[in-house]
Symmetry: C2
């Protein structure tokens, strides 16, 4: 497509928007993530000699390869900052650039934003579950996902996306180093099995980790393991930071463990749980009052197994004509129609709570906060955010989300969050109602 | 754990095995993949000054950081070659190495093998669907997944894993370049919308791509689009390689498109389909006789949405005592018990079909082919395979798989493929029956 555009001089500015047509199953909102890594990728995108030789070898003309050899994204990006709650049909990213540039960054943007938004959303839900539906419990969740993530880069981005949602403890030490997160580890069963007996293993681990000893107690029998852990703490004189339960009935076992620890004078020792933990199971355990302080979540955090796809698309919505004026562009395929024109999203807040969003034409005035903000101007990143400020935004937004939408029961169908088109956009789209 | 092992001199050889305790939902077999990239990662694993400084800053002692500064995997790996069909409880990878080394490569191995095996399995199923349940139709499937993959590295590995299963066409040009696959592209709706009319867009694309013009026909109306495509081929004199349907009733539309193309003398023009295609939908369309020649599969290929996790684990099964003899190691946690001792898998073939696997002790003699083969010896890779030979193995193995297991109807529960423990292992495990 780009080669054809170049040959025909079709490289005037165009506007593309990235949005999800529908919310994924089991999701009532999305938590935007992935913008930071995306902006780096698109502003650093270059084509080197090896790539150009390959493209030539599969049939691309010299003229196009010459164009690519000097490629550098020179356009503008407006986007919802990471940690913003968003909904179906709302543009998360808007790219305004010469058509070829806007086209060549499409896959990078979709590849980053779809995935990382999915993970941040899942992590936010897991953290809400750990807090019994209230935001602010993210510190009790730990990313245990690397062994189920889709490669090394995916594991790094899962840790980062979870941190967008406030989950900053991770077993991924490389991610902790790169993103300034907290490296958290306990021990594996193989550690216990590497010693003659569990008491011997526990004593060794506490002696070697006097400040961070969390002992895995289920290699043989969980409650016997808790007793052995308490004994090891007594015998070594090392305070027992925590014990970890990884199998069995976590409600029963956590109660039993808490009782044994308290009886041993270890009221400060924390109880960690892991083992295929998922948001529903965590909700149930929290509701039942399970005395669990830390939740290690792996598979479900890293794969969002109950809703493993955010289906964002990237669509041409406007382009500049030969005379310079803008033309709205829309597609009419069945079930896949798009609304033409560059758009903005305004959010109304009422009494500290999100009251409704309106998708407006980018040039329209509208009440409420405009969610898309300048991120790149003329190819330069103009907005760089620390993870700490992203996390603060996510926490604020989750606090402002209507209660009914935070973490509905499975099968519950709360009233969807209101998102409407402005009258101007609705007329333009030939629609009289809000997007589905 | 490793720091503790080092401090205590617990670095004698140990054996770890990677296996899935259970097959994932909706899966009757797995197609092993990811070994090639894994072996590179574990043999190239090093710790640099920046990493060591970080580890020191979070509390690791100098002695351990010194150890890591000279780290280099020196052990042995035995593994099922990529493209091998495998089942629950069967070790896919066996690592024999000093305990610390074997421990430090755990997450890398799990991160690579779980993900890539999941994708290769899914790609094999999609290709079977395209072939109406018969192997050999993989060439009609194209990887359209990058926009839904979990980052750039994941997109590369999805393309590679799909190629393990025989799917060698990909829209991922970078992966085509790296792995020697076929770069396949059509056009997007935005291309059509970039012109004044669909006929004008189609003529332009054919003129600019005289050898690979596949026209997307559903921007306005699919069958009208097919007519416009045929007219564009006639007017430009460029043979129409294909048209792509991306929405609507694909059975109805593919029939209508075939008729229109045939009437226009374009019997050679191929029909490609895309748009949230999934193995079940492909099965239905193939069974109904839809005249679709190429299947572009994105989301479901890249995320394996109907079964998004392969739950492989990595377990200590044996270690060397101070006197040098080997000791079997097993874990007894509820539902998570392991069988101790280094293992091998033997497969019996009967009349060209797979007749049953036996998991045996590594030192046992047994009939049938031994599936785990030497991959690394003393830290050096001793087995490097071209994708072509991996693909040939996968095709052979899928041909040998019992028909009932190839692609069962949803809800069907065919007799599972027989996998049993050898009598020696069963005794060792205290089990009298096969693993679940």
């Amino acid at each position: 497509m780009s080669a054809s555009y170049l040959r025909r001089g079709l490289d005037r500015p165009a506007v593309f928007e990235l949005f999800a047509r529908h919310l994924p199953p089991n999701r009532d909102w999305l938590l935007a993530a992935g913008l930071g890594p995306s902006l780096r990728l698109i502003t650093e995108l270059r084509f080197g000699p090896e790539q150009l030789a390959y493209l030539g070898s599969i049939g691309f003309e010299d003229e196009f390869c010459d164009y690519l050899s000097g490629f550098r994204f020179s356009g503008n990006v407006d986007a919802m900052p990471e940690g913003t709650l968003c909904f179906a049909a709302e543009p998360l990213v808007r790219v305004t650039a010469p058509r070829i540039e806007a086209q060549l960054v499409e896959t990078l943007l979709l590849n980053q934003i779809n995935f990382q938004t999915m993970i941040a959303t899942k992590a936010a839900r897991v953290a809400l579950a750990a807090g019994g539906g209230e935001p602010g419990a993210a510190a009790s969740v730990i990313d245990f996902s690397p062994r189920r993530d889709h490669g090394i880069d995916a594991a790094m981005k899962v840790a980062r996306s979870a941190a967008v949602a406030g989950v900053e403890g991770t077993s991924n030490v490389a991610a902790a180093m790169r993103y300034g997160l907290e490296a958290v580890g306990t021990m594996a069963h193989s550690y216990v099995l590497s010693f003659e007996s569990e008491p011997q293993a526990f004593r060794a681990f506490l002696e070697d980790h006097p400040e961070r000893g969390v002992l895995l107690v289920d290699t043989y029998d969980s409650l016997r393991g808790v007793e052995n852990a308490a004994a090891a703490a007594r015998e070594t004189g090392v305070p027992l930071a925590g014990i970890r339960l990884d199998s069995g009935d976590l409600l029963e076992l956590s109660r039993g463990a808490r009782r044994l620890l308290d009886e041993a004078g270890l009221a400060e020792t924390r109880i960690a749980a892991s083992g295929d933990l998922e948001e529903r199971r965590i909700c149930e355990l929290v509701a039942a009052g399970a005395p669990i302080d830390l939740w290690g979540v792996g598979t479900d955090l890293g794969t969002s197994r109950d809703s493993p796809v955010v289906n964002g698309v990237y669509k041409l919505v406007a382009d500049a004509g030969p005379a310079g004026g803008w033309r709205d562009v829309a597609k009419h395929s069945p079930d896949k129609a798009t609304v033409g024109g560059a758009k903005q999203v305004h959010r109304r807040i009422d009494g500290g709570r999100m009251a409704g969003d309106t998708i407006v034409a980018a040039e329209e005035e509208a009440p409420g906060e405009a969610l898309l903000v300048p991120a790149v101007r003329k190819g330069e990143i103009v907005r760089r955010e620390q993870l700490a400020s992203v996390r603060a935004r996510a926490t604020d937004q989750l606090r402002a989300l209507p209660d009914a939408l935070r973490l509905p029961e499975p099968g519950a169908h709360p009233e969807p969050y209101p998102v409407e088109l402005s009258p101007m956009l609705a007329r333009r789209a030939g629609l009289s109602s809000a997007p589905g």
